[in-house]
Amino acid sequence: MKQIKQWLQTYSLFLIFTLIIFILLEYLVRSELIPAFIIPAPTSVITSIIENWKPLFLEHLPATLLEFLIGFVIAVVGGVGLAVGMFFSKIVEKTLYPAVLISQMIPIIALSPIFVLWFGYTIWSKVAVTVLISFFPIVVGTYDGLKSSDKEYIELLRSMGATRMSIFKKLNIPMAMPSFFSGLKLAIVYALVGATIGEWLGASEGLGYYSRRMSGNLNSEGVFAAITILTLLGILMFALISLIEKRVLKWKYTD
């Protein structure tokens, strides 16, 4: 009960604002001040989701989820691995850190067709976009977190005879956790964007593919139905990571 009250206190203004926007949109579309093919009425989007729930939730959503999850897991494992490698080895850092930075300068939309060339219309072209887009915040978040350990803490542990590995486990890893989770929260949202972009540029299923197909049919309700599900999925994933973060970093959230 207390948690619900706290949640309402935090988000009530946003909920009221969203409700006002929905009512306003509904009115503008219903009174034909805005054509429905530009922005559909929120109730039409909900109706579209209900009418098409089978293909949306049983066909396209699982496809997007699979690409997203595979891509995200690869990005997390690879990103953390690279960050740890750069933390322990100056050579690895000097060789690969610029490459990580440059990878973010590449316009993903321009690169995606290349992935289609490499991997065809398989799941892997979408996974590749997902990895590329979500890799960066994980690497940077983890690496910066690992480097953030205060010199005085390191000296204290060394004065007790701690080895480098012992300092890594007892100090560097816990110290890196807040920064790692910040990166993870960004990455999980980016991963969903990556999977959707990948589907836009070449797929036969998935919510990105569905919204592109609906766009081609000038079915704005269908486009917004896919966008709504993707948005809700993004919020859900973000909330999930936030929940894990609060469990893992209990010390940070204890009053």
Binding site: E155, L157, M160, G161, P174, M177
Partner: protein, 248 residues
């Protein structure tokens, strides 16, 4: 336990490789069970001496010996000025960290608990450091140094950040623990009254890198009332004069 520094010199090099001789030809001895304070103006190298004794820094010349053997990392208990309790660990986990690092050091949870009880922190064994007051945190940090199991404890301005009343309580508390345990303490402070009240000897470091060894002839055990005794006041004035003289 006897700590001996023989002709120790240390030169600090910055990133531009500019050299600054911080310690020069230093000789000192701390005997078993002594409470010795190291005082001196900022920049005389007090903290550097402590880091050399911990083994965190390596002297350029000379020897640092404990019981005749060259010092290595992990040979002493060290308490820095900031308590440096790890914020994600509970108090009991913080004070037991040395036993996780040093495989040959066996400290059981019950032993750690009994120590917490003795310093009035048992009710906080599962609390996080942020939930404790400044004085409590310093007591926990002291226990962490104590539970390294080493005979020599190096305390670098441990009460520097505390308010005057808490500081007085902590000084009395530290003396009672020290008297009970027969540990050897090397204590850095800027507070001359604190140095006089706590110590058997005061080592005064000068800016010219020389060292005065000044005995404190106050009886033991010491009580806060002794802060008003003429002998302590006179000694503090003498120290003040010596240090003030250095600025001229």
């Amino acid at each position: 336990m006897t700590l001996v520094l023989k002709n120790v010199s240390y030169t600090f090099r910055n990133e531009a490789n500019q050299k600054n001789k911080v310690i020069s030809d230093l000789n000192m001895e701390v005997r078993n069970g002594d409470f010795v304070s190291l005082i001196g103006k900022s920049g005389t190298g007090k903290s550097t001496i402590l880091k050399l004794i911990t083994g965190l820094l390596k002297q350029d010349e000379g020897e640092i010996l404990i019981n005749g053997k060259a010092i290595t990392l992990g040979d002493v208990g060290y308490m820095p000025q900031r308590d440096l309790l790890l914020p994600w660990r509970t108090i009991i986990e913080n004070i037991m960290i040395a036993s996780e690092i040093q495989k040959d050091l066996q400290i059981t949870k019950d032993e750690a608990r009994s120590w917490l009880d003795r310093v009035g922190l048992l009710a906080y064994e599962n609390a996080l450091p942020d939930q404790l007051s400044g004085g409590m945190r310093q007591r926990a940090a002291f226990l962490r140094a104590l539970l390294t199991g080493k005979d020599l404890l190096l305390l670098d301005e441990p009460f520097g950040a505390l308010d005057a009343l808490t500081k007085k309580d902590m000084q009395t508390w530290l003396l009672s623990i020290w008297q009970e345990l027969n540990k050897t303490i090397l204590f850095i402070t800027h507070d001359l009254e604190e140095a006089c009240f706590l110590s058997d000897r005061i080592l005064l470091l000068h800016l010219d890198k020389t060292l005065d060894d000044i005995p404190v002839n106050l009886s033991r055990p010491r009580h806060p009332e002794m802060l008003h005794e003429m002998e302590l006041i006179t000694l503090r004035h003498n120290l003040e004069k010596r240090i003030a003289h250095e600025t001229n």
